[in-house]
Symmetry: C3
């Protein structure tokens, strides 16, 4: 029933100090003993849906075909917010319907998701007897992820709903209305913007950026090309433009904080 | 010898910055290549036995039958403190005899544990040739956990000892003498008390609590029912009453610190 | 092709907050579905090659035969710095040639390493189609580690280079020229020196140390032998002399900082 190579990628804001992540994993393995689990991250700031959406987007494509990706940053746990699943190119995505999945859904051109019917999945014995209203990670997300990894069909877990997308979350060709901004600051202090490496002006290095009052015009391809103390843009490894320094935190230097929404100007290089 | 689905749950206070956890895992897998390991937590404050006991208790029941749970918060490492193992409903528990296992042993109504005989297990080739006196996690706990997961009998590793329990660690029906207090504060700032959800007055919402000079009377079932800035009790997902706020740290707001022992008053609701 | 028990030990300075570690694991498992991964550490300070070298050295010997150990603390990523692999007693070591591997290479008496030829491995389809210049962990180290774990030969991935060792990184018999110092400070505040437990004067307890202006003369074998507030040397569990206190941080007490290079005096006990 449960294939040997079933793989679950897992992201939460539960942290690694508490037992919540371990309990989710135990609940999954109890249902699917051969399940394999890869952690994407559990240490984001609590309730930080925006950064979670970025990490999910930057990771999911590297999972092999047939993977299940389950994400739980869920301040609305126990409320009427939906839990949704979606088929994507390399597997299945499961998470709360609060924006956390949006970057992946956009990237994958997903036009409809399955809204999980908790009552239906419960009556089909896919959920435990007692479902808390404060720990759906353990009681709903983990068992459904395990069942999906074991081959249960997503469509049997709920009903389809159409998504209404208006504009791209990324600054890219054909998305003139998207606001440039910061998606993520990593542990090295690299600032990840929402500007695609494919955006006009990136490849030609004619794009320049303004952030916290500073005008950034230098480009590099690798850290070694950057002088000490210099601030540079690079076409980042996830496919987005990053603002970086060499062995130093660009975010600290510029006073950009995690999850702060910084206006990014695009100016013609002179 | 070593079954494919052997599962070890692991909790230590070693942290994830050092190599200690990785070394324990390598030592286990070297003995039992197909062993699977699920981390419960390694990031508790060093030597915090009380919080470790809570995390263990809140996690162990979610592991599938046949699991081995090994816990190492062990300030007495290298001293005459005992290492004990116990059969519990879903497997085997292994750890230092310093209180760390007490909540699980109480919950499981364990009346006797096996005191590990290090000399005997050593002569039976269950331990490495050199046993340090400062890293029993690597040299004793890991190999014994691996051998238990591989099917070795706990009773062959030591001698039985009777436990003397006096009162419940939980505030529950029939434990009038137990002092109410804080068991844990999680990363969200939720305050986990030692009061069972089954304690009289919880289900009827007639119980009220006093903590750090404040009188808490509100109850909720889910975070969405809580107003901004309001402090509430909820029947927590582990089976204990928690004091929480919505998307905010109740512990920080109330000035309750991790592992601080806070007196909890029970007062009749008016 | 990919054996069930292939084991990869993994150390980076990527941290667990970002997705980088999870992406490396996904990239490995995508190539070798049955691969097993054990984390050594990902939470060292960014770019701290010296502490990484210690953690690697203190861990690698505990991995079972046939393991692959991949280490990525790589401030020179994307530059001309080499990536090297080496056969060691229990498997294969892979990492940047920046000092990170030096303690293991010294310990294992490795006299030649294989300098990875990225172009050659790329043309042999061992690397992905697009290789970034800022995330070799994902694009080079992870796939090569997976291929090594799957049985691919290291020698086919590059060309051999001889190592020139001058003196031991450890203070040990026959290394009079090595400077005594601090290799690591662990989460408990234990100070790990580079003095081998086998160094003359350690077993006889005639060795004394000076650090940050203080003269340390006490020895213990286990923490329980140490008085409250006392500073002691112990022959540490990794084979190096440590300076410790009982349930207290010796590093904080002595004002020794992580990765600070502290001069250690050796004085004859009176």
């Amino acid at each position: 029933m449960c294939k040997n190579k079933s793989l679950v990628g897992m992201m939460t804001d539960f942290g690694l100090r508490d037992h919540y992540v371990g309990v989710m994993k135990a609940a999954m393995v109890a249902l699917c003993p051969d399940l394999r689990i890869i952690d994407i991250s559990h240490e984001l700031d609590p309730h930080n849906i925006a950064e979670g959406a970025y990490l999910l987007w930057a990771s999911y494509r590297h999972f092999p075909p047939g993977s299940v990706i389950v994400a739980v940053i869920d301040p609305g746990v126990g409320s009427a917010r939906d839990i949704v699943g979606a088929k994507i190119g390399n597997g299945t995505l499961l998470g709360p319907h609060n924006g956390l999945l949006d970057l992946v859904l956009w990237e994958e051109r997903v036009k409809a998701v399955t809204v999980i019917d908790v009552h239906k999945t419960f009556t089909r014995n896919l959920l435990p007897a007692n479902i808390s209203r404060t720990f759906h990670g353990r009681d709903i997300f983990a068992p459904l992820a395990a069942h999906l990894a074991a081959g249960k069909r997503l469509s049997a877990m709920g009903t389809p709903t159409t998504l209404d997308w208006i504009s791209s979350p990324f600054v890219e060709a054909g998305s003139p209305e998207t606001t440039p901004g910061v998606l993520h600051i990593d542990r090295f202090g690299n600032i990840v913007t929402n500007i695609r490496n494919t955006f006009p002006g990136v490849e030609s290095r004619r794009l320049t950026l303004g952030i916290t009052g500073r005008h950034i015009t230098s480009w590099a391809d690798a850290y070694e090309e950057i002088g000490r103390g210099e601030i540079c843009m690079i076409p980042g490894s996830s496919g987005l433009v990053e603002i970086v320094m060499k062995e130093r935190s660009a975010a600290a230097f510029l006073g950009v904080k995690r999850s702060s929404r910084v206006q990014i100007r695009r100016e013609a290089k002179q």
